[in-house]
């Protein structure tokens, strides 16, 4: 398994993602600076990490899609390479148009960091199949803009094509239909707000996040 973590200015979970992928599935992980213009063709996974790319200024993720590396991410998305966006990475995927909808300010208008219980609503994706037969996973969220929103047409489509991958048991932020993570139609791009990269070992409070990485092993 060969993975790349994209490092934007302001990314702060880049190392966490690397360690999570290494620990969970022994992946070989490259850190790729956003100013790069090439991503290797033989990547098995691209991770867009959490953090505050460009300080979240303007709008979360909006500046990151202007980075030179974005063209390569788009190319890999089309090609079918698995792409995982966590937290700010999910926001970037929405801004890039690779996932529908957007992440609004939390309904409390505050940053929220807490453990959340999730339901894996679609266990047939390349990112979620290892959750089959497992109890509801626990991971932490840590964000100010995790409130998923989409128009009704998009929601209908998410339902119709079974594209909602994770829901909160109890939404911490006002997300529509408690949505915590969604996948694209092609099934190779997952965005979620909770952090599997902080839930890959028992001593961190949970190792449930490791199952996302294990799912990718097939």
């Amino acid at each position: 398994m060969r993975a790349a973590v994209i490092v934007y200015p302001g990314s702060n979970c880049d190392r966490d993602c690397k360690v999570a992928a290494e620990t969970s599935i022994n992946a070989k992980v490259d850190m790729v600076w956003h100013k790069e213009t090439q991503l290797s063709d033989d990547l098995d996974l691209i991770i867009l990490p959490g953090g505050f790319s460009y300080g979240d200024y303007l709008r979360c993720g909006a500046m990151a899609v202007q980075s030179p590396i974005n063209a390569e991410i788009m190319r890999h998305a089309t090609k079918g390479t698995p792409i995982l966006g966590i937290c700010n990475g999910f926001q970037v995927l929405c801004e890039a148009g690779l996932l529908p909808g957007t992440l609004l300010r939390n309904n409390s208008l505050k940053y929220i960091c807490k453990d959340v219980e999730l339901v894996v609503t679609n266990q047939d994706t390349i990112f979620t199949k290892a959750f089959k037969g497992k109890p509801n996973p626990i991971m932490t969220v840590g964000n100010g803009e995790g409130n998923y929103f989409a128009d009704q047409e998009t929601l209908n489509k998410l339902h119709g094509e079974n594209l909602i991958a994770f829901k909160y048991v109890d939404t911490p932020n006002g997300s529509l239909e408690d949505i915590a993570g969604i996948i694209n139609e092609k099934g190779n791009v997952l965005g979620l707000m909770p952090h599997p990269d902080r839930a890959f070992a028992k001593e961190l409070g949970s190792d449930d996040g490791a199952l996302i990485f294990r799912s990718l092993l097939g």
Partner: protein, 733 residues
């Protein structure tokens, strides 16, 4: 006013320079200073930068120890944590700015303390804070709390360093003068530590980071004066933080430190470009020439006076090895940061500033730092107060209600509303943060089994009633909180917050508390490696409670040995270690239920603290304890309530009937711990403790869903939790 015009008495006074201090400046220069030079003296000789009221007392702290690599005098303290690694840490206040503008004041406090740590080559790995506000009824408390918490979170969350623990107090003495003390702990390789010393003659001085603007001019001077009614008008002196820039600056600085081109480096904190350049030159007896036209500026027409006194954030100054500038430049370009060579070091010992082809400042560096005033302020000892016994305060009425009242009092109530706004898990090495029942926060040293235990402590009401005992207690409680996790206490940073030192009573508190802390640090072998002093915390003549906060750091070799005070199961046995007496002075219950704040605080027997800690450490390292919790505010009753709530299990037992119930439950005697033991280990634990000569009382066992202490307490754990959790969210609305 032009920078060369004659200085009036008024201008000198506005700069906080006292007439006798001005005389010293005249003597050292042999002439009158111009406005720029006066400004430079003013910030360097401010209380904030020069510690002129406290320096002679601080010098007596024990600052060495087997694990101390660098004590006070650098940007932060450095301790050896084995395997060639070092922990670098410091705590610093941002009190005055946070009162004026809570969000930016607190945010830049966090930013500033992080810079002190990464300036030395350490990657910040944990943040903590001790914050204090006025009484909840005060009209500003809610707004200030909300702003400070948002500011701390807004900065730390964005930079990506976990905020793992802290403490929050409320008292009317902070109504007009809140306290925001932030601590940062970083991790470095011992062979890659950077200092402000080490510069050589003829080396380039480079500036990188954000541009210099007009924000924060005279911040250090403001932080060194009392507030009056016009405090809000000082808003322009509060700096504005940009955590995104700080994140880039951390990465760029650490990348630069991987090269071999730095001679000395210093962040631009209080007094900005002035103090950073003076410190690096002063430490080596060098001179400096700065070309002010080359300083990256944010605004047009900035004068050298503004540039030298600006406290714009996220800026660094480094002295490089000659010829290596291109390496630094390339790194800063990668991170899109401003970079400029703005001067060079000389052998003249003078600070020369050039602007528009003229020399606008030419003063000796020495007097700015080493000749700063060093006052022996007159002080009077705080009068001792008598012991207050439980008999004297009478019956508390329904003890269940008393405990519920303590659980919901502002100082004790759950601070979930606060810490849920802090990212506690970024970096994926947080083992125990505010959400875990642990007396100290725990962060793992990345890639190892080692972990640091970190705690912030102060009990200002003790210090008020007896500065010496209170000073001892601050250090002892920090020590116990580290011990209770299974870690070894290594060293502390301190943040001494007091009122106006020109008042002998206040100076008496300062001297008393420092003396108490010194004694505790010596006996507990818990040296001070860094610190900060914040004086003049007064508004309209009303001083804050004396608040010497300690940030303690401990080391545990194997995090799997660490314990907290949760996770108990039915049948676990609860013991109290330590002696309880009938001394209720300055206790929480006296304040919250009787409405009195007088009396002698609990005595601190430091030798007993040490011997008790040794036994606790041994029991934890032998895997004999399921849980351990230091007893402090609210005594045994509150300790039991917290243990029960943490595990969501009842405790059934009894208390010592030699003592009046009020004392047995609520006295705050020191050197006490609650421990929980698996029934299987009860005998051996009992024997170990009794053999050691320490007092041991069996309280009871974990069972059911209520805290049931025979003849005293009977409360459902769920009821206690609701009471404890509800106060703050209800208050904040």
């Amino acid at each position: 006013m032009s920078e060369t015009a004659q200085l009036t008495q008024e201008v000198i006074a506005q700069h906080g320079i006292k007439p006798d201090e001005y005389q010293v400046i005249l003597d050292r220069l042999g002439r009158a200073p111009n406005l720029l030079e006066l400004g430079i003296f003013s910030v360097m000789w401010s209380e904030h930068c020069s510690y002129k009221s406290s320096r002679r007392h601080l010098g007596r702290f024990p600052v060495t120890g087997p694990r101390v690599i660098q004590g006070p005098g650098e940007n932060a303290g450095v301790i050896d944590i084995g395997d060639g690694q070092a922990a670098i840490f410091k705590m610093e206040s941002h009190n005055h700015p946070s009162f004026i503008e809570p969000y930016q004041g607190a945010a830049t406090g966090v930013g500033g303390i992080m810079r002190d740590v990464f300036t030395m080559g350490a990657r910040p790995i944990a943040l903590t804070n001790a914050i204090r506000f006025g009484e909840p009824e005060n009209q500003h408390t809610k707004r200030l709390l909300s702003g400070v918490v948002a500011g701390i979170g807004g900065y730390g969350n964005c930079v990506g360093v976990p905020t793992i623990c802290g403490e929050t107090n409320f008292d009317k003495s902070y109504n007009g003068n809140i306290l925001v003390n932030a601590m940062c702990v970083g991790l470095a390789e011992q062979d890659k530590i950077f200092y402000s010393r080490g510069a050589k003659v003829g080396s380039p001085i480079v500036y990188f980071g954000s541009k210099t603007g007009r924000d924060g001019i005279h911040g250090a001077t403001m932080a060194s004066a009392e507030f009056d009614e016009g405090a809000e008008e000082k808003r322009p002196t509060v700096q504005v933080g940009d955590p995104f820039m700080e994140k880039l600056l951390i990465e760029a600085t650490l990348e630069l430190m991987q090269t071999d081109c730095i001679e000395a480096i210093q962040d631009m904190g209080a007094a900005g470009l002035t103090s950073s350049s003076v410190e690096m030159a002063g430490k080596e007896g060098l001179g400096i020439v700065l070309k002010m036209n080359d300083v990256p500026v944010r605004e047009t027409h900035m004068t050298p006076y503004e540039m030298m006194l600006s406290e714009s954030q996220e800026r660094m100054l480094a002295i490089l090895k000659p010829g290596e500038e291109h390496i630094a430049k390339a790194i800063m370009e990668k991170w899109d940061l401003d970079y400029a060579v703005i001067g060079y070091t000389t052998d003249t010992g003078r600070m020369v500033l050039e602007f528009d082809g003229e020399v606008v400042c030419d003063i000796p560096v020495g007097p700015l730092s080493s000749d700063a005033p060093n006052y022996d302020r007159p002080w009077v000892e705080t009068p001792k107060q008598p012991i207050v016994t439980s008999r004297e305060i009478g019956e508390l009425g329904d003890v269940n209600e008393a405990l519920l009242k303590l659980l919901s009092c502002p100082d004790v109530a759950s601070k979930r509303w606060i810490w849920e706004q802090y990212d506690r898990h970024v970096m994926a090495d947080t083992l125990a943060a505010s959400d875990k029942p642990s007396d100290a926060g725990l962060v793992r040293i990345h890639g190892t089994n080692k972990a640091l235990a970190i705690t912030n402590d102060c009990t200002p009401r003790y210090v008020l009633n007896d500065p010496f005992e209170g000073g001892k207690q601050v250090v002892a409680e920090s020590y116990r909180n580290i011990i209770a996790t299974g870690a070894e206490p290594i060293a502390i940073t301190d943040n001494l917050n007091f009122g106006n030192p020109e008042k002998p009573e206040t100076m008496g508190q300062i001297v008393g508390a420092i003396n108490g802390m010194i004694e505790a640090c010596k006996i507990l072998e818990y040296p001070v490696v860094s610190g900060n002093v914040s004086l003049y915390n007064e508004t309209m003549g009303n001083a804050i409670l004396p608040t010497p906060v300690v940030g303690g750091v401990g080391l545990i070799q194997d995090y799997r040995k660490a314990i907290g005070y949760g996770g108990l199961v039915e049948g676990d046995v609860i013991f109290l270690i330590g002696e309880t007496t009938d001394s209720m002075g300055a206790s929480l219950v006296l304040r919250e239920l009787v409405g009195r704040e007088d009396g002698a605080p609990p005595k601190v027997d430091l030798e007993l603290e040490k011997s008790t800690a040794q036994i606790i450490s041994k029991l934890i390292s032998d895997d004999l304890l399921e849980a351990c919790h230091d007893l402090s505010d609210g005594g045994l009753a509150l300790g039991l309530a917290k243990v029960a709530m943490a595990s969501d299990i009842g405790i059934v037992g009894m208390i010592d009937d030699d003592l009046p119930k009020t004392a047995a439950l609520f006295a705050e005697d020191q050197a006490r711990y609650l421990i929980a033991v698996d029934a299987e280990n009860e005998a051996i634990v009992h024997e170990t403790i009794v053999k050691s000569g320490l007092k041991l009382s069996k309280i009871g066992v974990c069972a059911g869903d209520s805290l049931e202490i025979a003849g005293a307490l009977n409360l459902k754990v769920s009821k206690m939790r609701d009471t404890w959790e509800n106060w703050l969210p209800q208050f904040m609305g």
